[in-house]
């Protein structure tokens, strides 16, 4: 596959970029940042390999979800969305909508589906904002906090329905009671997310770092 030749080419490009940036008076750290930005800019072209990869990502999430369906609120969806966002970055923008569509097709397009439309993208956004972090404890913390707050996030449609039905106060009451009713499940969700991330983060990240996307 000419990996050695590609590596030499990339090293040369990186060195040339640093020389250009040094000539503009930029520091080493800024040069590295520009390298990353240029690389990500180059990689934003959607290739067939990307499409196939996204399909595999959705399949992995769905398979894990089905396998763990018997455990209430213990899921790997959060884990995979975090890992895929960290390692495949912008490609998650396609993965999440496809995942949500598949979920709707399989389980029906109910109110829970509306919750999915913003809950999972919010997680991906939070991960993307912290993408340079590498600590297993940080990601376990973030995953746990997402689990704890999942019920709260999902209460908003009930607030909206309540507002439409009986005004702002009624809406807030409806959302609040719905959220409170599900708190025990949210606690289980947070603890489950924490445990799964703590155990799986390092081995999965190590394995996935070895997957490289070759751009033509």
């Amino acid at each position: 596959m000419g990996l050695t030749g590609d590596k030499v080419r990339k090293d040369r490009e990186r060195a040339e970029s640093r020389t250009r940036e040094a000539g503009k008076g930029r520091s080493g750290q800024e040069s590295r940042f520009m390298d990353i930005m240029d690389k990500e800019k180059r990689e934003k072209k959607l290739t067939i390999q990307d499409i196939a990869l996204m399909g595999v990502m959705v399949a992995v999430i769905e398979a894990c979800k089905a396998a763990m369906a018997f455990l209430p609120n213990i899921e790997l969806t959060s884990f995979w969305i975090i890992m895929f966002t960290l390692l495949f970055r912008w490609r998650i923008l396609f993965v999440i909508p496809v995942f949500i569509l598949v979920e709707g097709a399989v389980y029906g397009f109910g109110l829970w589906w509306v919750m999915y439309l913003y809950a999972w993208p919010l997680l991906a956004l939070a991960v993307y904002m912290c993408r340079e972090r590498e600590s297993v404890w940080f990601w376990s913390f973030l995953s746990a906090m997402f689990g704890f707050s999942f019920g709260f996030l999902c209460a908003f449609p009930y607030v909206a329905i309540g507002i439409a039905d009986s005004g702002l106060r009624g809406g807030l009451y409806a959302g609040f009671t719905w959220w409170v009713a599900g708190i025990p499940f949210d606690i289980a969700h947070g603890i489950g997310n924490f445990a799964l991330m703590t155990v799986l983060y390092k081995p999965v990240r190590l394995a996935m770092k070895r997957v490289t996307i070759e751009k033509s």
């Binding site: 209430p72 389980y107 029906g108 397009f109 109910g110 109110l111 829970w112 600590s135 404890w137 940080f138 913390f141 746990a144 906090m145 704890f148 609040f176 009671t177 719905w178 409170v180 009713a181 708190i183 025990p184 949210d186 606690i187 947070g190 603890i191 924490f194």
Partner: protein
């Protein structure tokens, strides 16, 4: 020095998580719907597959809806047990098969959709419960 800083952050994170879980538990204990003990007069209205409604009025000391349903004379129901309690699929002989035609039994209390399953839906004096055969996408 770096390691000490890192350990401190991990410890802070762990404390924060425990604190959040504790706060959630306190909110739940403080604001959940609490079961009321004592003699309560309630009504259970069952709307079956045909659309006909059968009404059951009873006095009960049941804390939760499932016990009240078991006490209602003439009301027969069954379902599958799960970690959330009983998932009712048959009421008075009408089977709601979700896999076959998207049918299920909806539960209402005083006109509002129940937030709890029958094993955890509290019963209060004067409550009117609705059990309605429903066909469509689940919420």
């Amino acid at each position: 020095m770096e390691s000490k800083k890192g350990n401190k952050k991990v410890l802070l994170g762990a404390v924060a998580l425990v604190a959040v879980a504790a706060i959630l538990a306190i909110v739940y204990m403080a604001f959940r719907e609490k079961p009321v003990e004592g003699s309560k007069a309630i009504t259970i209205e069952v709307t079956g597959k045909s659309g006909a409604t059968q009404s059951y009025e009873l006095k009960t000391d049941a804390q939760y809806l499932r016990q009240a349903m078991e006490e209602a004379d003439g009301l027969v129901f069954s379902g599958t047990e799960s970690e959330y309690g009983m998932m009712v699929d048959t009421v008075n002989g009408d089977l709601a098969d979700y896999d076959a035609d998207g049918a299920y039994w909806s539960f209402y209390v005083n006109g509002e959709y129940c937030n709890y399953g029958i094993d955890t839906q509290p019963v209060e004096d004067g409550d009117v419960f609705g059990i309605v055969y429903t066909v469509g996408a689940a919420e």
